[in-house]
């Protein structure tokens, strides 16, 4: 772990094929539960896999299925959607909308040839820092087993290790 190895140019411009593969996971999380749960994982100094990039939305109900397809298009190997537990939605019912939407969306994914196993769904409350860390580690391990989604995608500039 030398500081010289952190060359930003190397990180952004390198050829993906030259580097060993590692999962790229995009997480769409709600502001009130899972984002706060991830904050708690931080304040508790819980270490987890660096393979996730969080995109914050007010509520899982805001997540347009297009966002998920775009994330795969952008070279994600898996997408994680996480919000408040059922019944605890900050906005009363947004997570129920999200849950029903994914029931239908999984079928569309299969139709388009994306393995539905690459879409992860979870509930993480603001109090569940440990659960968030465990979740990220579990998802990363699972995706590592499953392998890359589309290794030839030019949008994949580098692995997120």
């Amino acid at each position: 772990m030398t500081q010289t190895s952190t060359k930003p140019d190397a990180a952004t411009g390198a050829d993906a094929a030259a580097q060993p593969w590692s999962p790229r996971i995009v997480a769409f999380v709600c502001n009130w539960c899972t984002y706060a749960g991830a904050d708690l994982a931080g304040t508790s100094r819980l270490q987890y896999a660096p393979n996730v990039r969080i995109i914050k939305l007010p509520c899982t109900g805001r997540i347009d299925p297009l966002f998920i397809l775009k994330a795969f298009e952008q070279g994600a190997d898996a997408v994680l959607v996480s919000g408040c537990h059922p019944g605890d939605c900050h906005y009363t019912a947004g997570n129920y909308h999200a849950r029903r939407r994914w029931g239908l969306f999984r079928r569309l994914m299969e139709f388009t040839g994306i393995d539905a196993k690459r879409l992860f769904f979870s509930w993480v409350s603001a109090a569940e820092g440990q659960k968030f860390a465990d979740l990220i580690n579990a998802v990363t391990d699972e995706v590592r087993q499953a392998g890359p989604f589309d290794p030839t995608n030019p949008a994949r500039k580098r692995p997120w290790t």
């Binding site: 952190t6 995009v26 939305l57 007010p58 109900g61 805001r62 900050h90 906005y91 009363t92 909308h97």
Partner: protein, 658 residues
């Protein structure tokens, strides 16, 4: 052309230890649109904030990204700084380099790479961000209180005492609610009417309170600060202006055999009546269903005896629309109907009564003037069996929840009974005694230890009437493990507390959510117990869950405090994270209207200059929208977007992932 400033915070060593902040700042310099990128030890400190302010002015920045702690921590700090430097605060975003990066990863190169990614994502977002202005909503500083029981009265008095106008709507002809019917109250045994009626009078006479009794809410429109409520004032057939409350009318009324609602059908009333002598307002109404004049067209005695000519047989229901800024719902409870319990006589045994009926028997102003006489033949009850949990904690036939107040009022009933019939036997069947509250357990102990009530832990399996008219109560004593049989003159059932009939209909009108039993749901069970999910609508009393008097009063005062807080400013200011409809592309499929958890989306008619309807579109009410974005994701034509989290902004974030 975007001119973005990037500011990387070391947070002392919190970020700097694992993330090479200088390298991140250097990498960010190369992002398209970034004109300034620096790192600093403590960005949230005064010099750090000054650095941002100076850069906004000197570099004419159109967007700022601060890579620091969680936005939940310091976003307001940095947005205020941006505002002070003349930049719209919604053009500043934070990337979470501490909680989501430096604190959760150990490997410095890996954390640094991730930090650069997080910065790139927010830089791309901020380039798409729009200037947003806080939404201002005017507030009509008048409150509506629905329900004139003790909770409603307390809320109305507190709001009125705070100097704001209140409209108090009550369905029955008088204020008072259930509390007016009680004999004495636990655990102090003070007389219910003695403590309640002065408050009723105070509410009626308060200059800030407009009383609307014998009235019901029929329609609620609008949103926080600006509700329009339709109230139906039922025909009283008595002109309240002329009536002096002398009582000549109901003394002479020939229709005398109508079961009194107030006395829980143990006494009778006339067709023109006031519910009880201390009624507020103390003016009678005519019950149109039973009045001989109104049903058969002849009688007219009350009009003849009325000295002021106040009787109006041609009176009609009236609808009044009131404008209010906040609503307190205090509709209270009702008792569960125990006729579902066949083993307790299915409601057919006259001497098996409920708690309210016992209250009226024990009340000095009740049908027996306070003597405990059994309803069937009027004999003094020598032996009374009280059965707790009648319907409560019975998921199969009743309700699964505990009704909370029955243990206490049953102990009170047993004590009152023993005070009135010294030689009488009071037997209480209970499942558990739940007496949590100040002085409550002591009160139950007193009933058992000094007042001589016999407590038997167990259920009653059957009640039947003997030939001599007395009741036989068969049950089990589960502590002794043997069956018991008690001969009683009267059985008092502690029926479960259920919401008022029609509670769910009112909830739908108000846009308030309710549970499977019809109790209204609070916005948060711990931290927002008096608010509802509908902004501007508050809860007080047993309409939310079974509650005793002190709890109802406390919640009513809390609701009043919330209302006064809301009314303390002429305008509401809120975060402009709200949905917006593109009226040009909206096809009015109404999917968003159905999805919105707040009922914040309504129809909007677009008309030409002559007033002809061109088409109808969806329209988001900014006052009600809470900004969840559920409507955006359900919109089939992509015609709704959420300010602060637009499709363009989120897609830019995704596209920034390298």
């Amino acid at each position: 052309m975007a001119r973005v400033g990037v500011f990387i915070c070391h947070c002392g060593e919190n970020i700097g230890r694992t993330v090479d902040c200088a390298a991140v700042a250097k990498a960010a310099e190369a992002f398209p649109g970034v004109v300034k990128s620096v790192d600093y030890k403590y960005m949230c400190s005064d010099p750090g904030q000054q650095m941002i302010k100076d850069a906004i002015r000197d570099e004419r920045l159109t967007g700022v990204v601060v890579g620091a702690c969680s936005p939940r921590m310091h976003e307001p700090t940095f947005r205020r700084a941006a505002f002070e430097a003349g930049l719209n605060p919604y053009l500043l975003e934070m990337a979470n380099l501490r909680e989501h990066c430096s604190w959760v990863h150990e490997d410095r190169p890996v954390a640094t790479e991730k930090a650069i990614d997080l910065m790139r994502v927010m830089v791309e977002k901020v380039k798409k961000n729009a200037e947003l202005r806080p939404i201002r909503v005017p507030v009509e500083p008048t409150a509506l209180v629905i329900g004139g029981g003790i909770a409603g009265i307390q809320a109305a008095l507190d709001i009125a005492g705070g100097g704001k106008k209140v409209i108090l709507v009550e369905r029955s002809p008088s204020l008072g609610g259930h509390m007016a019917r009680l004999s004495e109250t636990f655990p102090t045994l003070d007389c219910s009417q003695c403590i309640l009626t002065p408050r009723m009078v105070e509410a009626a006479n308060h200059p800030n309170i407009t009383l609307m009794t014998y009235s019901e809410v029929t329609k609620v429109d609008g949103f926080i600060g600006n509700f329009e409520v339709t109230v139906r004032q039922k025909a009283r057939y008595v002109d309240p202006e002329k009536c002096t409350g002398c009582g000549a009318c109901f003394e002479k009324c020939p229709a005398k055999k109508i079961p009194s609602e107030f006395d829980a059908a143990l006494g009778n009333r006339t067709a023109i009546y006031r519910p009880f002598p201390q009624a507020v307002p103390n003016k009678p109404v005519i019950d149109a269903e039973h009045c001989i004049m109104l049903t058969k067209g002849k009688c007219g005695i009350c009009a003849k005896v009325c000295p002021t000519g106040a009787i109006k047989y041609d009176d009609k229901d009236r609808e009044v629309i009131v404008k209010v800024g906040a609503i307190v719902v205090a509709t209270g409870f009702e008792l569960w109907d125990h006729s579902a319990y066949g083993e307790y006589g299915a409601g057919r045994l006259e001497d098996v009564i409920n708690g309210f009926q016992f209250e009226r028997l024990a009340s000095a102003s009740g049908p027996t003037t306070g003597e405990i006489r059994r309803p069937s033949d009027g004999r003094i009850a020598e032996s009374v069996v009280f059965i707790q949990c009648c319907g409560s904690r019975d998921p199969k036939r009743g309700v699964p929840y505990c009704s909370k107040i029955c243990c206490m009022y049953t102990a009170k009933h047993a004590i009152l009974y023993r005070h009135k019939v010294h030689h009488g036997r009071a037997v209480v069947f209970y499942m558990d005694v739940r007496a949590g509250g100040k002085g409550y357990d002591e009160f139950v102990r007193r009933a058992i230890e000094t007042e001589g009530a016999e407590y038997i832990r167990g259920r009653v399996s059957r009640i039947y009437r003997r030939k001599d008219g007395r009741l036989v109560v068969k049950g089990a004593d589960t502590l002794a493990g043997r069956p018991v049989e008690i001969v009683a003159d009267m059985v008092v059932l502690a029926d479960a507390i259920v919401p008022q009939p029609g509670a769910s209909r009112l909830a739908q009108m108000l846009g308030v959510s309710y549970d499977e039993y019809g109790f209204y749901s609070e916005a948060h069970p711990k931290l927002r117990p008096v608010e509802t999910a509908k902004a501007g609508v508050f809860l007080a009393g047993a309409c939310q869950a079974p509650k005793d008097i002190p709890e109802s009063v406390a919640q009513a005062s809390a609701a009043a405090a919330k209302v006064l807080g809301l009314f303390s400013q002429p305008e509401l200011e809120r975060e402009p994270i709200v949905a917006k409809v593109n009226e040009v592309t909206c096809v009015h499929c109404r999917a968003c209207i159905q999805a919105c958890p707040y009922g914040a989306i309504e129809d909007k008619e677009i008309k030409d200059s002559k007033g002809n309807l061109i088409r109808t579109v969806a329209c988001v009410n900014e006052g009600e929208c809470q900004g969840c974005g559920t409507c955006v994701a359900v919109c089939r034509s992509g015609s709704i977007d959420l300010d602060g989290f637009t499709d363009e902004e989120v897609l830019a974030e995704i596209a920034a992932l390298e």
